[in-house]
Symmetry: C2
Subunit: 410 residues, 2 copies
């Protein structure tokens, strides 16, 4: 894509009303716009990054046999009444012009359980699992962390249905493994942490926490073994000895990017979701639910991967693979060379953002650093038919031929 044609532009200054680094950089770069507190529009560059995050999540969900659905945002009171979750703090509730009462879907256990009653009746129908990647709404009292705590945000929510607690446990571990894989593909180093059940369950649950000072959770973890608990339930405090192995325990802030819940029969019972077992007896279905927030992941990536000049996207989620900068010149050959490289790359299917704008080299370099595309390729009077290549996360440049570069990137 030609940068001159991009729907957005970078800004010269940071937005004054944002505190969080992720919102500051993403707004300055033209990735997102804030519409109201905790509510953002995702513009073409952010949309491209989100598409990549979603594609990775979809691939891994499909790989464990989960099937994609789309559940509504308008969830009628009757659903929440059955699970006694009408009038939850975080819900946006309202009455329609026709007198129906709705809460905007902030989670979908109720809806998916109601649906499953139509399709699950025998142990032969189990296990099964459905997921969606969909907008969720939560009336968060604080909405100051940019994409880390939004009032309207994307969520991948997966729901699983089982004939026994053992089968749920197996699937729960499988999803934990899949989430590890997803987060690794997203270049996020996340800790598996034990946490309280929250609104979903009374059992302990697990969260994936990315340790970073801006995180709103506090994690207590062992420096030697895999002991890690959310401070809310932690058995010890930082500086003490690990309850599992006796090594030193640390405390750090974390961003919760994913979570997994054993729901048991919390929803199947009120919705009368039962199955007939092999002996012919009726039993409530055992459920699990599992979430990853793609927009929160986007914000977390910016928090983890940036420097004072801008974002440094990992390749897997970058909106483009390479940022081609044509430096302004009186010589026609510069434009010609740049255009040629651009066309070669487009033809080869390499995602390239081509800065063809009539602005100074300094502005182009600053924008390239701000936007954070993994590779920067400069064509100028100095480079001739060659390209000056630089990784966003390195200071070194080197001259390469377009053909070499193409080979490297494909």
């Amino acid at each position: 894509m030609k940068q001159s044609k991009l729907f957005t532009k970078t800004a010269k200054t940071f937005p004054s009303e944002e505190e969080a680094v992720n919102a500051k950089l993403l707004i300055k770069g033209g990735y997102i716009r804030k519409m109201s507190a905790g509510i953002y529009s995702y513009l073409p560059l952010a949309r491209r990054a989100l598409d990549k995050i979603n594609a990775i999540i979809r691939e891994e969900m499909n790989a464990i046999g989960a099937q994609e659905v789309s559940l509504p945002a308008l969830v009628a009171k009757e659903y929440w009444d059955r699970s006694r979750r009408w009038h939850t703090d975080v819900a946006y509730e309202f009455k329609s012009p026709f007198g129906e009462e709705f809460a905007l879907g902030w989670t979908h256990e109720e809806v998916v359980t109601a649906i499953a009653t139509n399709f699950i009746s025998s142990y032969k129908d189990l296990p099964t699992a459905a997921y969606q990647i969909q907008t969720k709404f939560r009336a968060e009292p604080r909405a100051k962390s940019g994409l880390l705590r939004g009032r309207e945000f994307l969520m991948k929510d997966l729901y699983s249905f089982h004939a026994s607690k053992e089968d749920l446990d197996r699937y729960y571990q499988k999803v934990i493994g899949t989430y590890k894989k997803i987060l690794k593909r997203l270049s996020l180093d996340a800790k598996l942490v034990e946490a309280a059940g929250g609104a979903f369950t009374e059992d302990y649950t697990h969260e994936f926490q990315v340790l970073t000072p801006v995180g709103e959770d506090v994690i207590v973890y062992c420096t030697a073994c895999d002991y890690a608990q959310n401070k809310e339930i932690a058995l010890v405090r930082g500086g003490h000895r690990c309850p599992k192995c006796g090594a030193e325990v640390k405390e750090e802030n974390g961003i919760e990017v994913a979570n997994v819940f054993r729901l048991g029969t919390r929803y199947s019972e009120p919705f009368d979701l039962k199955f007939t077992n092999a002996k012919g007896d009726q039993q409530p279905v055992i459920m699990g639910s599992y979430g990853i927030g793609p927009t929160r992941v986007l914000g977390t990536l910016v928090e983890v991967f940036h420097d004072d000049r801008g974002i440094i996207w990992p390749e897997a989620v970058a909106p483009f693979k390479i940022h081609l900068l044509e430096l302004k010149s009186e010589e026609v050959s510069v434009r010609k060379n740049a255009e040629k490289v651009y066309k070669q790359f487009e033809k080869a299917g390499v995602e390239v953002l081509y800065d063809d704008r009539d602005i100074s080299a300094g502005e182009k370099f600053a924008d390239a650093d701000l936007l954070g595309i993994p590779w920067r390729a400069v064509v100028s009077e100095k480079t001739g038919a060659q390209i000056e290549l630089k990784a966003r996360n390195s200071k070194n440049t080197k001259l390469v031929s377009p053909e070499e570069l193409l080979k490297k990137l494909q």
Copy 2:
């Protein structure tokens, strides 16, 4: 995918509470579930069909340089106030727990115009265009037509920005051409019809109408030339002479699957979206907006393509390309042959739904007709290592080898 593993099942009977054919067939087939009046969940088979519809739309939008964005559903009162569209009949409006007032986005002119003020300032920034495929909410008083008139539905909305009325007109015609292409790819035969401006504009606008008795609009069109108007603004009535060419004019019902609007400065003025022209003067940006509803398209396809046994999907949108039926048999070879064909197809990337369930041949045939996948391939004692192939829209069967079939489908 193995049908035994599908999250959904077909039902034996039609849903009692639905009147529209599209809702009846889609619910019986397990494609969708009704959650409240006008509000549906899209289950895996429908999700697959929607993915195909959306992919075609995206491809054609990108081809005309439009860039994908995602705008929020929670649109604050301040946006609607500026365009004087707060308290619109179709809006779901409510107050948040923090006292903010929102309307759920039923259209996004306000939001996209507000965003564009950050990026458009010069004639050099024009033209530009952004689109999204996103959930819209409309408090429709009647919601009895299944997916044809939902209260929560998918919409592809495109917004374009221009320096002059002439440039808008050019783009308007371009989008009409693109919509023709999209609808053709979706196998929908739609008429371009002149209509009133509605909530968006005072100019005449254009709609794409699929002529079918269940449509809620009435279209007056010429049997000889391209004259076609929505009855609301039609110059003549059915049976009369065409005002353009004098030939006979007919009246038929239609489903509006797409529309295009010249917005002019209706939104740029209240939002102060201006640009500096080549002479240095400030002018308001000229806008257009253009919609296609993917979920309405899904419903329309079912209305147009079905018989008394079920849906007949066009290949371009079918959830699977082929429905492989293994007929119950005592002979192990039947399962072995079917499994082999299934694996061959999956490996070749042919989308196949494999009915491996332990039910009667009659039930499998009935389900195949109901689900409406374009090709039915039967493996049975009778067929041996061959396959009995039948198109959903034909009565003829023929025996083919798996290799021949693979060649045909790839």
